[in-house]
């Protein structure tokens, strides 16, 4: 079995989840509470990566991340390195690809917070930002847990986009789902099944962890 690919997968899923939890929270907050023109357009934009087939996202990502593309060029200028075919590159791809799964459950949870708690926080002198961190977040943990589970599992299974943006360089960008793909393509169904099976304990362990964290914080 391809342990290296499993390791890359796990690393990718964890990094994606952590980064997205931090990134998506403010977006979800804006969508839940702010009022500004073009808000639904922003929301549609945030959700778009999900509606498009992975091949299309991969296609556009390659274009912007290539050394000639906007982001790729900027990155090369900054660091001298390339984004495509690196772990960083697939991480960015995986983050963009999973944004909607992080934003949507968080937005739902944030918008359900009892207004009276927010009013009490304001009266107690908390800025909107402090209220967000000290009241909204701790009272939305079940929604955040849902987001984390979706993002983590989705980045485990992500494959089309990653293959396109990452190539499949062992130890760097070759994730388990690509290994499965190669096994299926070579009609090696047993190997494919083996790797797929190994996903069960991983997702199970992650679920248990998240549920545990979520329950510990129940009021």
């Amino acid at each position: 079995m391809d342990y290296l690919a499993l390791y890359v997968t796990l690393k990718l899923a964890l990094v994606t989840t952590v980064v997205l939890m931090v990134m998506a929270a403010p977006i979800a907050y804006l969508l839940a509470y702010a009022r500004f023109p073009g808000k639904s357009l922003l929301e549609a934009l945030v959700y778009l990566p999900m509606a498009l087939p992975p091949t299309v996202i991969g296609f556009y990502l390659i274009i912007v991340m290539s050394p000639k593309g906007l982001i790729g060029r900027g990155w090369e200028w900054l660091t001298g390195g390339s984004l495509l075919f690196t772990f960083l590159g697939i991480t960015i791809a995986s983050i963009i690809y999973s944004i909607p799964f992080a934003v949507s459950p968080m937005k739902a949870a944030f918008s359900k917070i009892d207004r009276r708690l927010l009013e009490n926080a304001y009266v107690l002198g908390l800025s909107k930002r402090a209220t967000f961190l000290r009241v909204i977040i701790p009272n939305s943990l079940s929604g955040i847990a849902a987001a984390a589970v979706l993002v983590f599992l989705h980045s485990m299974g992500a494959f089309g986009v990653l293959l396109m943006v990452g190539g499949s360089i062992p130890g760097e960008t070759k994730v388990a789902s690509i290994a499965i793909y190669e096994a299926v393509e070579t009609m090696n169904y047993q190997a494919a099944g083996m790797i797929a099976l190994s996903f069960i304990p991983i997702s199970y362990a992650f679920l248990l962890l998240i549920n545990k964290l979520n329950e510990d914080s129940r009021p």
Partner: protein, 224 residues
Amino acid sequence: EKISVAVAANFISAFKEIAADFEAQSGVKVEATFSSTGNFYNQIKNGAPYDMFLSADEQRPDLLQKEGWTEGTFIYARGQAILWSANPDFCKAATWQDALKNNQIKKIAIANPVTAPYGAAAKAALQKAGLWDALQSKVVNAQDIAQSFQYATTFAVDAGFCALSATTSPQGKSGCFYSVPEAPAIVQAACVAKNAKNKKGAELLAAFLSSKYAVKIKAKYGYR
């Protein structure tokens, strides 16, 4: 010392064996990436750092040559479409055309002729046999040739146009097949990047692909 090679997905099995032999003989490490030809073409156009590209068709390498990515293309394999079924009774008819005319046959898989060279070859064969229009309602499009074979092995379809290489796998041996000489050979071309990081290694591999060792492995997987 390593080279990175983009390999069309239908050539995975053969390539893995060839690469192993090559590594042993030359000491050059081969890092292979497998995906669809269209995807590779797009990646390369956007600056993917492959030293070498083994396509599933001739068209993409030619385009890359026109665009100046490579200085020359060469043919590394010729594949042949076959008609494969998991049901041994299927092959009792005299010809593949007769087998397909049987009313018992409800679904036939071909790779998507629009995107996959094997699909285009299968379509050409069906057209030549005058069956294409008649069988329209029975034809199911698979993403690529491997998937067409998957349909056939899982009984999702009664028969599928596959690559000859499929018959070498354990599943392939459990069924039966017709060769389809009416299908034009699938010519797979390759090319070495002009600005390859390890051009010498890539040219070594290019030469190795027509060596007697490689030819033997290719034959084993149904390529000429």
